[in-house]
Symmetry: C2
Subunit: 768 residues, 2 copies
């Protein structure tokens, strides 16, 4: 067309050029589009028949322009000065003007008026090709801002533990701790052992033990070390936790002074590597059912430790396959044929040269999905005799007459008291998992900020973090990680400051945050892997390794589903006690409170309230979370009672309600996390940090309200207009927070040497 | 108490023994409980003061019974014949009778009436310890039934491909295909290559190619082979797919006869291993933006292939690091400085000895999260000259004048037409992923059926698959796998029988099922891992490997999130065309239809209908799924239009609606899967199989309705009573289907040698 005689004779024909380019450039013409174009041409009275013929030919599907012709058309249009986005009609007129040197008349300029909507071309997308440089969409413009002081945020997160965190980071970022890439299981395990030895040499292993045994008596520090180590290799974290936590703490908490004196110092230096042998092949969650026996022989005051059958072997025992020399073994104590329930005993596994002792058989669990730097093993005992003093006898002992003695009458009660002292593991694990989330989010968010893909036609590509789906995938997870950071600190503090009376509550809280937190870890790492695409699948970028290593966090230290049921049962007990301890006046107050809730919150103005100020108000969130928690708990209790009243077996009744009970636990957990996030935001002094945290807090709250909208709508607590407004606001909040996402992950201050992923570091890619 | 003088003197005191056991056996007494017990004792007129004193001592928290005493009490109670479950009062009376030899009087038997509810002991749980053998709860009784003929179900799933599936299974279950456990990347890759060679020697590789090139011209068979191989090692599947699918099919579909003649036979026998070099470091999803150049030199009729910068390197290329000798390379064709868009070229990488050719630099992607048996590499081209005939010229060629020629005018259109021919990859991948789900579900469900854990106090433990949460986790995933099986067969059939006109629809369908299916794979494998606890984490049980290997399925052959947006855009286009092609009469009909839907389905009787027959009716499901699909699509279209009408840049408008658009795609995909599941159930002849499939179908439908209940409630399509009824029914369906879950996975008929997981096979565990 550009060079054709018709156009030279009548430059007004140029008015069609942009349209023709657009219709040919992306699609074959449909019959309908063809008809629209024909009609338009037909009704232009300023065109001669010959000119019409010429134009018909140009839209004939049998005679498409060649690819070269199409490119020439584009070049011709690109010469026309366009100052801004235009309609096809406007661009057509400008093209006429440019090539004819004069304004087109109204007939000509009107020829294509409104053609976009007639052809169904969406908006101005079709014309981007003509002047890409004018295009600056909001999506393109979004970028990272420094909206707060990153170092202040780091200080706020680290709080009083900052100096210790700094010390641990220095060690794990040192050249000795450089990651090794090895195919070889054994090499990897030896490396992890060496790293653990180095940590012990700095005193990190014994930090929680009393000073008289080489420690610093600082349990808070122990958790901080575990968490900070989790920026490094998680096999190291678990090896460290098995040795100094499970093995050492079991001796410390279940044993008495004689054990502490004899073992604790060597455990803390790793001179005495050991295991925690509780789980059996046949008994994981239901540890109370373990079948290893410890039979007391009063004649020589010894115990015989024995594995009666394969299902009673100790399985998955960390440190067992290679390095452990002793173990805390959980076994049923038998005295004169009577079973006194599960107790703990110290049993030697290997001599100082590492040879397995007589009666002990250990096999290797072999390769696992992750944590392959930890040597898990299977232990079998064949009539292994140990001296009487090897019983860890803080909660039960055998007296000089060979009789069992315990301040706790019930075997069950004693067992759960013993377990309760070990609840620390349920704190360390979610903290480690959350640190892994911090690593993965740092990698995925930095990558999303620099990785560009797609863009408006002809314009530069856009960072993938500017896309709404990408934001919606990552921002709520970032909010969860911050939320859990504060909630886990709260849990740790409650645990360290505990009184006897609070133990049941703290155990439930630990179980709840362990389950919620580690499921969140699995979900976060999965999303980060996918958000980094193929790069996320490469070993070098570490997300895969973090994912595999933490995958078992949802299982060990208590299977999450089982834990959530324990939490629910604990909540039901609290609920019952709250009710049963109420006098008539208390009950009246409670009922009045419930009624007030109903009046206040279920009134039509509130269930439909979509004001942004209301939706962002922590008061609204707190009410909604608490209402949900209370309502689900009450209804679960009612449902259980109804089933039992109707004669259902109580085991069956709990089973029928199991799904409901898990929701009880979720609602409780989420209310606690929300409260602690609010406390953290409110306690923040620095304005910039406070604003940023408030934004994250809002995403956390709105995301959970959105997730549970089905429930809120079912209950009539919200109406559809409100849940829709929440969704919309959540999307908007994710868009807003994206601009500070990079500073928010930078605040985790993970050393480059630990993070290690090339896609997250500032090295320019080199030719491979 | 048992031997005390008081009891010998007055055996009526035995009435308290069961109660005393219960209160001491599990808990320390609270103040309130103590008060209840004291009150009860106080008001018994038949007790002397001395006897009351005696009883007070027995409940004194300062003077607990010893553990041995508690055990003696239990033994004493266990001697009492109890025929069924009793209240504590009843057991007390029976104890009196047993030890005194006569009936207790009414005063005594009434002493403890209703004590359970006063103490808050839930139901009869507390008394299980006395007579465990009478306990047979529903939860304990549930077990696997053979409710249909497994071999008939297998025949139904395999259908006309049964003989081929059998042949492939025989090969992969043979000793040559025994899994190797090796730490060594190179050994593993060589093993996978050898396996691929064996498959090629049986003619499985070329099965889809025309007979004249050594194949059997059976594309359906190619997909079946890929799917069946997925019961084995997934690295093998991907290696196989890269060679015979990506490399071979690109030559077949993008090349012309000269290429077929020259290469196809050798590709099919694996004599010519090759690669598919499309993705670049800088361009994965947006392949149209790749930057490798193929510059045409008319003087000697060659192309020069060149990598201009590191971001333009070909990355993640399967078969590249070690074995590939040639590659289909996608590059921008440049003729005389003009860019003609992406075209494909055959480029030699290595000579027959495996030496990299001049100008080619290949590096290894190294270890990945999974699929480590595939040698992915990075390829860089430095001015590599190839002959003119190496252009794959089905859709574009260079004529004798050195000019570009194509029957497809637009570069974009041509590019998408090329890609369209390769859509087969988006069929093979979800089919492979679904086969991995079949393996993992077979392992997890068989394990859940035999693994016991917990049970009523003192009674045998219960298979974990009898627990409602376990059922709720696994049964919907089993239903999804069956649903996808039929949907993916439908997709395959549509693809094989396609006409030109249907291509856009089929591409959208493939994208939709690829994304939905592979996300389901990730979710299923994760749940199966967790459902198998520690056993699921062991390498030997294969779930971890399957999980890691399939993890990239959500990314390669099109990132799922990007695909879902393409699906949505395709749906919007269809929607627009449907509307714009309607004449006034059609539009009226459509609006009348919508109104009828509103009247029929949104009437108060239906939105609240909780009849089981209605909730299980496929008609109801279809209406609900279609309503959702149509409504989300319409609202997305309206929202886009409104934004654009208000002057929003269209790129921004699509971004703002991205989250909404992904929902459009989900709703579409789920409607299609539902329809195909209904078709499959209706077409089933065998009654037993039909019933089983109908049950799975219902779980599939109800699970998705439950998942989207928030949306349905928001829209007023259902009310809370109905969504609650659906949840309840879903839980019940999961309970019902559990009894046939094992036969349902057995019907996948995965060879033991492939399944391999010890926890899923019938070998008794031996001492390690």
């Amino acid at each position: 067309m550009v060079l054709s005689q018709e156009v030279q004779r009548n430059p007004n024909l140029y008015v069609f050029l942009p349209l023709l380019y657009v219709v040919w450039s992306d699609n074959v013409l449909t019959q309908r589009e063809l008809q629209v174009l024909k009609n338009r041409i037909d009704c232009q009275s300023w065109l001669s028949d010959k000119e019409k013929e010429f134009l018909y030919r140009l839209i004939d599907p049998q005679l498409p322009p060649t690819p070269s012709e199409l490119k020439q058309w584009l070049e011709a249009i690109r010469k026309v000065p366009l100052k801004q986005a235009h309609t096809l009609a406007e661009i057509g007129s400008l093209t006429v003007k440019f090539y004819s040197g004069r304004e087109a008349n109204a007939q000509v300029t009107g020829a294509l008026a409104g053609i976009e909507s007639e052809l169904g071309l969406i908006g101005r997308e079709a014309t981007y090709a003509f002047r890409p440089e004018y295009r600056l969409s909001l999506t393109q413009q979004q970028h990272t801002h420094d909206m707060f002081d990153v170092s202040r945020m780091t200080a706020l997160l680290d709080a009083e533990e900052a100096p210790l965190i700094q010390r641990v980071k220095q060690v794990i970022a040192s050249p000795e701790f450089a990651y090794i890439e090895t195919d070889n299981l054994n090499e990897y395990r030896q490396q992890v052992l060496r790293w653990t030895q180095i940590l012990a040499s700095y005193g990190f292993g014994s930090i929680g033990y009393p000073k008289e045994y080489g420690g610093q008596g600082d349990m808070a520090a122990y958790f901080t070390v575990m968490e900070t180590l989790s920026y490094h290799d998680l096999s190291l974290v678990v090896k460290f936790g098995v040795q100094f936590g499970l093995w050492g703490m079991s001796v410390y908490f279940l044993g008495t002074e004689k054990h502490h004196k004899k073992y604790l110092k060597d455990i803390g230096t790793l001179a005495l590597p050991g295991c925690f042998a509780m789980t059996e092949t046949g008994h994981g969650s239901n540890v109370r059912g373990i079948e290893t026996t410890a039979t007391y022989n009063h004649n020589n005051q010894t115990f015989t430790i024995h594995t009666p059958h394969p299902q009673a072997q100790k399985e998955y025992i960390g440190n067992a396959a290679l390095h452990g020399r002793m173990a805390t073994v959980f076994a049923k104590l038998i005295i004169n044929g009577v079973d006194y329930g599960v107790n703990a005993f110290i049993v030697s596994l290997r001599d100082e040269e590492g040879n397995t002792l007589p009666g002990i058989t250990i096999s290797d669990c072999g390769r696992k999905l992750g944590l392959n730097g930890v040597d898990n093993g299977i232990i079998r005992f064949n009539q292994v005799v140990i001296p009487m003093e090897n019983m860890l006898d803080r909660f039960a002992r055998i007296n000089e007459n060979g009789e069992f003695e315990s301040p706790i009458t019930s075997d069950n009660r004693r067992f759960f008291t013993m377990l309760g002292t070990l609840v620390g593991g349920r704190i360390g694990i979610p903290r480690s998992g959350n640190a892994a989330c911090k690593s993965a989010l740092t990698i995925a968010i930095r990558y999303g900020d620099r990785r560009v893909q797609f863009g408006p036609e002809g314009a530069p590509e856009v960072p993938i973090l500017n896309y709404r789906t990408h934001q919606r995938r990552l921002m709520p997870l970032l909010a969860n990680t911050y939320a859990l950071h504060f909630a886990l600190k709260y849990l740790t503090r409650r645990f360290l400051d505990r009184t006897e009376d609070e133990m049941q509550e703290i155990e439930a809280l630990a179980a709840a945050l362990k389950a919620w937190g580690t499921w969140n870890t699995t979900a976060t790492l999965q999303e980060c892997r996918e958000a980094c695409g193929g790069k996320g699948y490469l070993f070098e970028n570490r997300i895969g390794t973090l994912k595999n290593d933490t995958d078992i966090y949802t299982t060990f230290e208590g299977d999450n589903t089982v834990l959530m049921q324990l939490v629910a049962k604990s909540r039901l007990t609290d609920f019952k006690q709250e009710f049963s301890s109420m006098n008539a006046f208390g009950l009246l107050n409670y009922l009045a409170g419930q009624a007030a809730t109903a009046i206040m919150e279920l009134n039509p103005l509130i269930v439909r309230n979509t004001d942004e100020a209301h939706l962002l108000d922590p008061e609204f969130h707190l009410n909604a979370f608490r209402y949900r928690e209370r309502d689900i708990l009450t209804s679960a209790a009612r449902r259980l009672k109804r089933h039992i009243d109707e004669g259902m077996d109580s085991f069956d009744a709990f089973n029928v309600c199991q799904h409901h009970l898990v929701q009880v636990a979720f609602a409780y957990t989420e209310r606690v996390i929300l409260e602690q996030f609010i406390v953290a935001v409110e306690g923040t002094q620095d304005d910039g940090c406070k604003t940023a945290l408030m934004q994250l807090y809002r995403i956390f709250a709105l995301n959970l309200l959105d997730k549970h909208k089905g429930w809120y709508l079912e209950q009539g607590y919200m109406e559809g207009v409100k849940t829709k407004a929440i969704r919309k606001l959540l999307n908007q909040m994710c868009w807003d927070v994206r601009t500070m996402a990079v500073p928010l992950v930078n605040a985790f201050a993970i050393p480059d040497a630990c993070l290690a992923a090339p896609i997250a570091l500032n090295h320019p890619p080199a030719f491979a």
